[in-house]
């Protein structure tokens, strides 16, 4: 008796995203994508189809929009009014604030990030680092953005290149790595490498730091050069010791001089293995557009866009309390100290930085998106599970709309955000959200 299978099936939790243009390598490809809200991953659709004979529960038509991996921001200090380094009396407030930040942050398109702590006293690190470690263990999409581990930017930096960091808390490491342990807390450096810190920014010319580099990398922590007076040669040595990243290139370091190329010079080294990744703040305030373009052209494979945003990002324009008793004035992406023109930091969102870069460089959309997805994932050693639209990667996705104005301004807009295979933000639906 011939029997075709009944249409009533068990729900599989699989969503099929169709009709979109997927960012794959350097191209936009028209292809379907199957994601699972149960495993939170991108599926091998053909294998799942034939092997398990499942069909998607839901089909979403992207109507020609761009489908990209979720953005990864490896440097920002807070958002939506929450400051990672502000320690309250009651740490449950800190925890709540952090959870709230994760839910709001994911709407801006940042699905994973490194919460950044600028130079602080040891006590701040001891109190906050336990909360800032990788938070995606539960793979719960409703939490929103996921921390991939903390970024400790300081206090082992150069006093003359402190930016807005307070000089009083800066340190040297005369006892080598044990000074680092004392500052960040020895629990932050477990032997299995699964501690809360993912990246440390320090100045390699500061006493004792050069010897710390292999200690950190041995424990799976990325070492970044930043806030430094290092010369081109010193930077090269740090890279040989294991440094793989430069923190906000050009800012808080020696400029490019034609006979003293400074840190920027390492981008020109011929052998690919020696060239590090490097962060660039493209808010239009920290760097001139053409500087960004030149850096990208010199070493596109290492180019990572970051915001280095302060806690005012995501808040409406106005006056807010800053760090160390300052008052800050926020106007769009620009953040200044009240009463002066000194830049207090950045308040641009990552999608704004990406749009700026696209406008200035006229790079292709896949190349632009690579700077906030595949490249930071590779820098963090997470290229198998983050930053790309391939099977077995986490299903952190963005649906983007690309617009080009008549005057040449290009913008990418976040339409939908998917985290671990579940829709967590839809710009067209005011009510929908975490």
């Amino acid at each position: 008796m011939p029997m075709a299978v009944s249409p009533e099936r068990v729900r599989t939790g699989i969503t099929r995203l169709t009709g979109g243009r997927l960012v794959k390598g350097n191209q936009l490809v028209e292809q379907d994508l199957w994601i699972s809200s149960v495993s939170g991953k991108i599926l091998r659709s053909q294998q799942v189809f034939y092997e398990h004979q499942v069909v998607p529960d839901e089909v979403v038509d992207l109507q020609g929009k761009i489908l990209a991996p979720g953005f990864i921001d490896v440097q920002f200090n807070g958002a939506f009014g929450f400051d990672f380094s502000a320690v309250p009396e009651d740490m449950t407030e800190y925890q709540k604030g952090l959870k709230r930040l994760n839910r709001y942050l994911v709407r801006t398109g940042v699905t994973s990030y490194l919460p950044t702590l600028p130079s602080q006293r040891a006590g701040v690190y001891h109190k906050t680092l336990p909360y800032l470690g990788p938070s995606g263990g539960a793979r719960n999409p409703l939490e929103g953005s996921e921390s991939l581990g903390a970024h400790c930017e300081g206090p082992f930096i150069s006093p003359s290149k402190n930016g807005i960091h307070s000089v009083e808390v800066l340190q040297e490491a005369p006892n080598g790595f044990s000074d680092m342990k004392a500052c960040y807390g020895s629990e932050s450096f477990p032997e299995d490498g699964k501690g809360p810190i993912s990246m440390i920014t320090a100045a390699p010319e500061v006493a004792g730091i050069r010897e710390c580099i292999p200690e950190a990398t041995r424990r799976g922590i990325r070492f970044a050069i930043g806030h430094t007076e290092a010369t081109y040669e010193q930077a090269g040595e740090a890279i040989e010791q294991g440094a793989t990243m430069i923190t906000h290139l050009f800012n808080a370091m020696r400029p490019l001089h034609h006979r003293n190329p400074g840190i920027f010079g390492v981008l020109g080294k011929a052998d690919g293995k020696e060239r590090p990744y490097y962060g660039v703040i493209s808010d239009g305030i920290h760097l001139h557009p053409t500087t960004v373009k030149i850096a990208w052209a010199a070493h596109p494979d290492g180019f990572i866009l970051v915001t280095d945003a302060m806690k005012t990002v995501g808040l409406p324009d106005g006056v807010y309390d800053g760090m160390h008793g300052d008052r800050w004035v926020k106007k769009g992406p620009l953040l200044t100290r009240e009463g002066s023109n000194t830049i207090a930091g950045s308040s641009a969102t990552l999608i704004e930085c990406v749009s700026n870069f696209w406008t200035w460089s006229h790079a292709s959309i896949p190349e632009v998106i690579r700077a906030v997805t595949a490249t930071p994932a590779r820098m963090l050693g997470l290229e198998k599970i983050k930053g790309k639209l391939d099977p077995d990667a986490d299903a952190d996705l963005l649906v983007l709309e690309a617009q080009q104005d008549a005057d040449g301004k290009r913008t990418l807009k976040v339409d939908q955000v998917w985290k671990f295979g579940t829709l967590v933000h839809d710009a067209s639906d005011e009510q929908f959200g975490l």
Partner: protein, 356 residues
């Protein structure tokens, strides 16, 4: 056999796609009575799949209750290899329409026991009720599925070693490296295809012209295995002009005229469903078996004289007492009894109907 000659490859593909859609729609498949469809791979049917996908996206056809059986699959390459026939079908068809994956049947070239796989496949076809329509292509050597020249025309699903010609033809999908092309495949047999209720073959391109000529104008020959189609009651071959290059002009003209006449007369040639045909047959049998009513074989009867009616005399109404003579009283012992005559009067003088 119907030979449909279309102008070019895309018209031929569209013709087949439209025909398939018509067939499935008029069959009206249900879960209890699904439409069992045999499917091919290769560059010839690619455009057919494109048309079917487009029609499905427009909402014209659903493949919900269609069970599919593919013709063949390579042996020894992984199922997810981009050149496997599983991948071909997924890429060009299954990922874009609504065939239920549980209704899809493709031979497994990585089965532990290939012979068991073939026997199971034949059994699955049987259990699905047999194939309603088998769509296929042809190789340049006239093969149907992977039934290479020399295959038995009675063959069933089995393991086949590929002919050198076929390996060369397929090498374009394997970086033009002959060593990368699989040497063996599982394929349905010639008889498996012939067991389908209807067979539709697409043949396009000048490189297939010789094969078409051998299969239609030559005899049934195991060197050109598609020629077995000549023995099928409902075969249809859809070709483009290029594929007819080796045929006699007479053949081409003949088949073209058949189609023209059929269309002009409004005589549909699409194969009706088995149900419909069986019902028609049943009603014919009924008529043949019913008892014969005596037919008035009027031409054998003698001529009947015209019946003339006798003239009826005119009716003169009279009363009975005038015709009946009064008999005098006889010695009946009734003396002394007076016979009084009843006064005859009409009822209406006695009864006042007005007061009734």
């Amino acid at each position: 056999m119907r030979l449909i000659i279309c102008e070019d490859k895309s018209t031929a593909s569209k013709y087949i796609a439209d025909y398939l859609i018509d067939r499935i729609k008029s069959f009206a498949p249900t879960p209890e009575k699904p439409f069992v469809l045999g499917l091919p791979t290769g560059s010839s049917p690619e455009n057919v799949y494109k048309s079917l996908v487009a029609a499905h996206k427009r909402g014209e056809i659903s493949f919900r209750n269609v069970i599919t059986f593919n013709m063949d699959e390579y042996v020894g390459i992984p199922r997810e290899h981009p050149e496997s026939y599983h991948s071909f079908m997924y890429r060009h068809f299954f990922s874009q329409v609504d065939v239920d994956p549980a209704n899809i049947n493709i031979l497994n070239g990585n089965a532990e026991d290939l012979e068991e796989e073939c026997i199971a496949y034949e059994e699955k076809i049987k259990r699905a009720g047999g194939i309603e329509l088998f769509l296929g292509g042809i190789g340049p050597d006239g093969h149907i599925a992977f039934n290479e020249p020399g295959s038995s025309l009675r063959s069933r699903t089995r393991v086949k070693t590929l002919a050198y010609d076929t390996i060369i033809a397929n090498s374009r999908f394997f970086d033009n490296d002959l060593n990368k092309v699989p040497k063996m495949a599982l394929t349905v047999g010639v008889q498996t295809v012939m067991d389908a209720r209807e067979v539709v073959i697409i043949i396009t391109g000048p490189h297939k012209a010789l094969a078409l000529q051998k299969c239609i104008e030559g005899g049934v020959n195991h060197m050109w295995t598609l020629s077995s189609l000549q023995m099928h009651p409902h075969a249809m071959i859809v070709v483009d002009e290029d594929a007819t290059l080796e045929l006699q002009v007479k053949t081409v003209k003949y088949f073209k005229s058949i189609e023209q006449v059929a269309t002009a007369q409004g005589f549909g040639q699409a194969l009706a469903s088995e149900e419909f045909v069986l019902r028609k047959r049943d009603s014919v049998l009924e008529k043949l078996d019913s008892p014969k009513s005596p037919t008035s074989k009027s031409f054998l009867a003698p001529p009947k004289p015209p019946l003339a009616r006798q003239i009826t005399p005119e009716f003169v109404p009279d009363s009975m007492h005038q015709r009946v003579v009064e008999q005098p009283a006889t010695g009946l012992g009734l003396d002394g009894m007076e016979m009084k005559e009843l006064p005859l009067s009409s009822m209406h003088t006695r009864v006042d109907s007005g007061s009734a």
